[in-house]
Every structure is written in C-alpha cells, then in structure tokens.
C-alpha cells in the first residue's frame, strides 16, 4: 500500500509542493498507478519479439549540425544561474 508519508517524501524529491488537502487524493492516485504497473507485470511476454518494439528499427539522424538554442532560453527554467552556467548547490563535500 502507498502511504501519505511516502507521497510527502516523493513530493520533496520531485521538488513539488503538495497542499495538505491534496494528499488523500494523490495517495489514492499513486496506488492506482502502481496497481496498473502490476497489471503490466502479470501480462505474458510470450511471443513478444524484442527486435520489434513499435515495429521500428534504425530510426537514425544524419550527422549535420543545426544551430543550438539561445543560452537565455536554455537557462530560462533554471532555478539559479551564474556566468552562463546552471548553478546548483555545491556537491563536493
């Protein structure tokens, strides 16, 4: 079973703010999603061919350069930036 505590923890990990009154509904939804994954686990994979996912193979690109996106746009959603770089909390020690 999924607990409210787990939902709260996932919210923190995902950097999402979840209001207290949404918790019950979200817990229920998450339980359903996991239940759905169980359904997939129980499905037989006999006869499924690895090679044939989506019946596609070799969807490839030519090696030709296309201009990159403006740096301003690249950094637009960053929480913080400095000197044209994404700025994150120090991860060394």
């Amino acid at each position: 079973m999924v607990t409210k505590e787990e939902i709260a923890k996932i919210a923190i990990l995902s950097k999402l703010f979840v209001a207290e009154d949404e918790m019950d509904k979200l817990t229920e939804d998450m339980a359903e999603i996991i239940f759905f994954a169980d359904t997939i686990n129980n499905a037989s994979d006999e006869g499924s061919d690895f090679d044939n996912i989506n019946n596609l193979s070799n969807v490839l690109r030519e090696d030709e350069v296309v201009p990159s996106l403006d740096r301003e746009k690249i950094l637009a959603n960053a929480k913080d930036s400095d000197d044209g770089c994404f700025l994150v909390k120090n991860i060394m020690k």
Binding site: F50, L56, S57, R61, E64, N77, L87
Partner: protein
C-alpha cells in the same frame, strides 16, 4: 612473498562526429558555456532523442579495428544516477547488448589483451566548483563516446602503457577520434588488484577513475599496487572502492558520492528503437578501414627494409606515415625518405603535437621529386640535404631551387680537373697529409665540393685526391 599485478581498463573515447549523439548540436570543443545545447541534450520533458548514424558507423569501425564481433541487434539503455552533470538523471548508454564484443589487441610481447565489449553512450556535462556552489555547463553533455572495456588481462604497468598507446593510435588511424588525453577526448579508468604470484584467483579490486595521461596512469597504478601489497602484507584487507588519483601528491584517495551508488537500475530506453546492423553494412565498413598501425609497421620493416626504430617513428603519427608513403612512390630506396623525414624534417616539428599535426612547408610530392633526382644520380646527397633545408624554409619545389646545371651531374673530365685544382690550391694540406696528418685531406675534398657546388661525390673525390698526392 612475490605478488602479481592484475589490471583491466575501461577507456572512454570521444567520437569525432560533427553533432551530438542524440541531437544536432555541435560537438565542438570549447565555446561559451551552455551555447551548444538544445531541449534534447539538457533533458527537457517531452523531447525525443534520435540516434546519430555516424556514431554507429564509428563505433563499428572501432570494433572492427580491435577484432570485435559486431552485434546484429543492439539497443540503448538508461543508466540511472542522480548527479548535476546529467540533466536527465540518467545517462543513455548500453547495458546488455553492446554494439561490439569479444575483440582483442595484441601487445609487442605477444600477449593478447581481450576486449570484452565496446558500447556507445553520451558524455556528461562539465561541473566547475566555485565559491561554495557548482556551475554546470552542458556543452559536453550528449557528445558521443565509446567505452572500450577489457578483461583483467594486464600483468604489468608496461603492458598497460603500451595498450593505451596502441589504442590511441588505432583510434587516430581509423579516424574516429583525435584521442587526445590532455583534452579529455580519451580517458581511462583502471581496475586493479594484486595476488600472490602464481595464484589463479583474483584479489579484491579497486577502480581508479578518469585519468587523462599515460604518465599518470603508470604512476597511479604503481602507487595503488604498492598500497594493496602493503595492506595484504600487514594483514589488512583491500576494500573494493572507487578511487581518484591526485597527480600532485601522487596518491589515490577514495571517491564518495555518485560512483559508489552502484545500483544504476538499468532499463531499456523506450525513446530509442532497436539498432539493427545488417551484415553487408559491417563488410562495407570493414572495406573502408585503412591499414592499421601493426600491419604498417610489419610492412615497413619486412618489405621496405626500414630499421625497426625508424619504422616505429614513422608509424607513430598517421600523417607522417601518409606523407612517407606518398614520398616513396616509385623511388629506389625508401630508407632515404625515412632518413630525410626523421633526420631533417622532424627538426621542424619538434614536439608530439606538432608531429601529430605535421604542418610542414614541404609536400610529399616535392620530397618524392628530390629523392628521384638522387636516385638517378643527378644530384648528390649533400646537395639534396641543403636543398631539403631550403624546401623546408620556403616551401619551394626542388625544380624551383635547383638550376639546370645543378641537376646536370658532373662529368668525369670536370671532376678530374677539379681534384687536380684542389691539390694545387692547397699545398699546406697536401704536405700535412703526406706527413701523416690524415684529417688534412678533408679540406682538399672540401675545395672540390665547394667548387663543384656540391655536385661531386665526396667519397670519390677523396679517393681521387689520394691517388693524385700519393708519394
């Protein structure tokens, strides 16, 4: 007790494609931070990666050049770990179905280093730690890499050094990477353990990450080997861990954090479809492979009869070898071309980088022309040498530097007259020689050389002069 070193290599080689592995951003080195980025390589939601055709081709080239089998069916997987250098929190790599496997590279001592696999993957971004925070530049993120993994087949540091050098040379020959360790386009991780000599079981290994010079690899391996032997000798245990080598203190230290969290939860990347490599495609690529350094060396020694040391110097730089081969087309003695390159031309390209780039003013065709003039006896070696020096300075061709009379050779009458004149013009030297001062003859020969403008054969002149002044 005697101990044996056991090591294996994981080498990352950056592929020299124009664009990244899953998007069309440039792979150019440098550039202002985050200017070679797009929604795909910074991992924005809703984007769809699409594999670069050239990456597959280059990886197959690398596989074939290292005697690998090329998989007919291959796929991409997600390697999950959370670290700011990966914007998606996973790296797209290959897990259980790599593109190439079961190859080998043979070392000069005859031992085979088995290559377990070569897979393709994306590079991570660059982190710069400053003032208590970390700056992230994703220009390198998504640049295509191959990872070449060996079996633990190394038994000495010399073998490791030779392997890295050979691998680097092969990558350059087949044109898939510039494989410059100092610029990070080739980097090595080494797995290392020790065991009592003669033992068959493997000891506990440690892994030294991300080394970018052959010298550091050798030093790090030596340090780590001694550290592990000391631990075992003092009754302690080697702990399996990931280490970082510090070249300033020449020590290894434990790396905590991302590298220790070894549960990567690999799973197939659902955004990327199966890679199918038809056998005809493999043969097509095989047919475009150049002669590899090993074969070339063998041919230079056996067929062209070059001394092994000289052959090695030429083969070591692809552009030099290419130049040499063009310069010897139709010439009688390849050794002459080799001597010119190693003796004279290398003075103009002194360090490794310069030899690698081999930007010189002389074309292979000009050198070829010069050697043919020598071959046909139209000019003498000393004139050829001075002409080559002028060619190296000015970029002019032999035909532009040498006059008709320079190339006309020297007829016998003129030669004899010149020798006679030399004897007459140098009475002191003649007297000295006749009084037993052998060296004195050099200045008489010098006279002949000078007045024939280098066209005379110095040996023949010396012989002739000796005859003329014999008591």
């Amino acid at each position: 007790m005697k101990y044996e070193l056991v090591a294996g290599f994981e080498t990352h080689v950056e592929l020299a494609t124009n664009t990244k592995i899953f998007c069309s951003c440039t792979t150019q080195f440098g550039g202002e931070p985050n200017t070679h980025c797009c929604p795909i390589c910074i991992g924005l939601p809703g984007t769809l990666p699409k594999l670069n055709k050239k990456v597959i081709e280059y990886a197959i080239r690398a596989g074939l050049a290292t005697n690998c089998e090329i998989a007919e069916i291959s796929k991409m997987d997600r390697k999950n770990y959370c670290y700011p250098d990966l914007p998606k929190a996973y790296q797209i790599s290959q897990y259980d179905m790599p593109l190439c496997k079961n190859g080998f590279i043979r070392l000069s001592n005859g031992r085979k280093i088995r290559i377990l696999r070569i897979h393709i993957e994306e590079d991570a971004g660059k982190l710069v730690h400053s003032r208590g925070s970390t700056l992230v530049d994703y220009n390198r993120g998504g640049v295509p890499l191959i990872e070449i993994v060996t079996e633990p087949d190394f038994r000495s540091i010399d073998e490791a050094k030779e392997y890295v050098e050979r691998l680097q040379l092969i990558m350059r020959y087949i044109g898939v990477s510039d494989a410059k360790m100092q610029e990070g386009s080739m980097r090595c991780d080494v797995n290392i353990s020790v065991r009592p000599a003669g033992s068959e079981t493997l000891g506990t290994r440690t892994e030294i990450k991300n080394m970018n010079s052959i010298t550091f690899i050798a030093k790090a391996m030596e340090y780590e080997y001694n550290r592990q032997v000391d631990l075992i000798e003092s009754g302690e245990k080697v702990i399996q861990e990931t280490l970082r080598y510090d070249d300033v203190s020449n020590t290894t230290s434990s790396m905590r954090g991302k590298e220790d969290a070894n549960d990567y939860r690999y799973f197939r990347d659902p955004d990327l479809v199966t890679i199918h490599v038809p056998r005809e495609k493999v043969e097509e690529i095989r047919a475009t492979l150049p002669e590899l350094p090993d074969k070339k060396l063998e041919r230079y020694i056996n067929d062209l009869e070059l001394p092994e040391k000289d052959a090695q110097l030429l083969v070591k730089y692809k552009k030099v070898a290419d130049f040499f081969e063009k310069a010897i087309v139709g010439v009688k003695t390849p050794k002459t071309a080799s001597n010119f390159i190693i003796g004279q031309i290398f003075r103009y390209v002194e360090n490794e980088n310069e030899k690698e780039a081999f930007h010189i003013k002389v074309t292979a065709e000009s050198l070829n022309e010069l050697i043919k003039l020598l071959d046909s006896g139209k000019i003498r070696m000393n004139l050829a040498k001075s002409t080559l020096d002028k060619m190296l300075e000015t970029g002019q061709k032999p035909s532009e530097l040498l006059s008709e009379s320079d190339m006309a050779g020297l007829d016998e009458t003129t030669f004899n007259t010149l020798c006679q004149q030399a004897v007459e013009a140098n009475p002191k030297a003649v007297a000295d020689y006749q009084n037993g001062k052998e060296k004195a003859i050099k200045s008489i020969v010098g006279f002949v050389m000078k007045n024939s403008r280098g066209k005379a054969d110095a040996m023949a002149a010396e012989q002739k002069i000796k005859e003329l002044i014999a008591p």
